[in-house]
């Protein structure tokens, strides 16, 4: 019977027990352009240097955030959220990356970008680079980003987009919208070429999932459903002990076991 307990235990311990709830949203556009090489745009950085996206990525894998400084909507909260997520992750995540905040607005100048960096208190953070480029159309095309200028409100209609680029210059992952720490962490893993053979699609009807994918560790964690796998073994032990208690042996019989 101890073997049963051990077996059950192994099933649990094989991945540490931790229920993770909440699932990332699946946006099909995130599957587009994956593993394409990103357009090698020329960049002007706020420190005055010029470089290219591939050149930057070669140093450290890149997270590219697309913004424009006149934005009165999405850009600020989205950048703030990214900053907070990365700060939270830096505690238990040692994988290298740089963040490139890139303007997609041709009107933006380098000083606009410096101002933005200062606003977010990121001007002197070595992991954060703010830049403008002259090749934004080609770059947008290569990552599947389509901002549209709306003259009525003098704003771009645009998505919050993060693009992950590995050190070979390939797009490994894209995230649309303001996303959780876990998704950001998955992004960092994938630009560091970490391969996970599976991911789960979002579903609201599955009450009992065996495993929940946890992007923090890149592993699946047991969900409620695993209890069901342990159940037969647990019930067997219970029944075994139950029968033994119920069917207490007679002492007379017991002495004749060797017959």
């Amino acid at each position: 019977m101890f073997k049963y307990a051990f077996c059950t235990l192994t099933l649990f311990l094989s991945c540490n027990l931790n229920l993770t709830l909440g699932q990332s949203q699946q946006d099909l556009r995130e599957e587009e352009n994956i593993y394409n090489q990103i357009f090698n745009a020329q960049l002007k950085l706020t420190d005055g240097k010029t470089t290219t996206i591939h050149g930057l990525a070669e140093r450290e894998p890149l997270i590219i955030a697309f913004v424009f400084t006149r934005c009165s909507g999405l850009c600020s909260p989205y950048l703030l959220q990214l900053k907070e997520s990365l700060r939270a992750l830096s505690r238990d995540n040692s994988k290298p990356y740089n963040v490139l905040v890139l303007s997609f607005d041709p009107e933006d100048s380098l000083s606009d970008m410096s101002y933005m960096a200062r606003q977010f208190d990121l001007l002197n953070d070595k992991k954060w680079l703010f830049a403008v480029t002259n090749n934004i159309t080609s770059l947008n095309k290569s990552v599947g980003f389509h901002p549209v200028w709306n003259p009525a409100i003098k704003q771009f209609d645009h998505d919050a987009l993060l693009v992950g680029v590995n050190s070979q210059g390939y797009i490994c992952k894209k995230l649309f919208g303001i996303r959780s720490e876990k998704d950001i962490s998955l992004l960092i893993s994938s630009i560091n070429n970490e391969y996970t053979p599976t991911y789960q699609l979002p579903s609201n009807t599955n009450l009992f999932s065996c495993f929940k994918y946890d992007p923090l560790t890149g592993k699946n964690k047991p969900g409620f459903g695993l209890l069901f796998i342990a159940l037969p073994a647990i019930l067997t032990i219970v029944i075994l002990i139950g029968i033994r208690i119920w069917a207490r042996p007679d002492k007379k019989l017991n002495s004749g076991v060797t017959s």
């Binding site: 049963y4 192994t10 599976t198 065996c210 695993l226 796998i229 037969p232 075994l240 042996p249 017959s259």
Partner: protein, 479 residues
Amino acid sequence: MENIRLRKITAIWIVAVLVLFVAAITLGIIMRLNQAAIMKLSPAGFYENMTVHGLTMIGIWFVAGMAAVNFIMERYVKTSYSANLFAFIFTVIGVILLWVSAFVGKFHAGWTFLYPLPLRPLWDSWSIVLFLVSLSILGVGWLVWTVSLMAALLRKYSISQVFAWQHIGNKNPEIETPPFVLISMISLLGVLTSLIAAVVVLVLLFWEFFSNGTFSNDPLLMKNLTYYFGHTIANEMLYLGLAVIYELFAEISGRPKWKTTWYVAIAWNLTLFFVLAAFLHHMYMDFAQPQSLQLIGQFASYLASLPSAAVTVFSIIVAVYRTKIKWSMANLLFIIGTCGWIIGGVGALIDATISNNFVLHNTLWVPAHFHTYNAMGNVLFSLGFFYWFSVQYSKSEVTNKLQSLKIALLILGGIGFLAAFYIAGADSIPRRYSNYPAELAAGKSYALLGAVSAIIYLIAILMFFVNISRRCLSMLFAR
């Protein structure tokens, strides 16, 4: 010690198993002939046939093992006749409903009825309900039987005695646990676990079916549970057969009875544990399964082979090697069955290796290996018991006519039938195809070889059937 009532019910079990065996082999031959394009079934007809063939075979060889274990257990403890009869009635009802759900209701989700396939609208909804009900009836009958046999053992032996723990580290313990008791208990526990897993699967399926879309299951969980049940019961029914061999081999051979030793005790206790984790090897190609479980699957499959090979098989070899033995049909079947079991085990280990599974999974290699340790292993264990039983307890005389012919046909048919599976599996022919596409047309020739050899195997089985059931029936009608 065996009483007349138990003898009669065992005789009924034997006849019922053999009748259903002949019927299920015939279904198998029809499937192979259809794959060879000699017969023409509709695809649905083929898969109904396949569903019934699989479940019937699993069912009958499980109950054959149980009936044999129940019969021999009476030598040590008092077993319950009513539980035995109850299981028989429920098995008959369950099997009839099962055949109706498939052949009348057109239900054909395969014997593993892998979620969510049974719930798809490919057949009438009454047939899925009938199918699930038939499995529930079988499950209830078998659960009651299993628990009653466990209770019979536990009334006499304590938990540590029934697992022979007192033999570990003690050469001559005060109370000895016969190997038969140890192995029966280990197998019954495994059976109990797998039946409970089946109950969980059935409850979850019923729940979703009657929830009108408000509840749905997780496919990965359901797959794990399905193989937890399916793999484990297929494995444990073989161990029921081994329990019988441990009891009868020496007896039939005219040798001193086998005793439990420390290594027998350790080996079987370990087997209990390894076998329950081995089912994970069915999910290798589900990358969604965590890798740690995949590796546990490969290690558990490897480890499960160690106690059986180093203890059971080695014991049989030691018992036979350079030892004068009274060879009869029964112990010949036992030793041939052991050989078949090992060969099937090697085929299984090859497939339980993840990197091999990548190119063998769900090809005909899979039926190849499990037919080896069933048709040429477990079936022979049970057939050996049937033969011994029918000779032992009937008054009609025993003729040794045709004995070598029977064995020769059995082996010849078995080899051809299995080789067709193995070679086709290595040739990438998928399993469970009613007809083969042009690219895989080689499958047709293998199917024909398989069908012809299976007919030879069937002839041998029919000869056993006539011989054994004649004696069993005479036993039934004797006073």
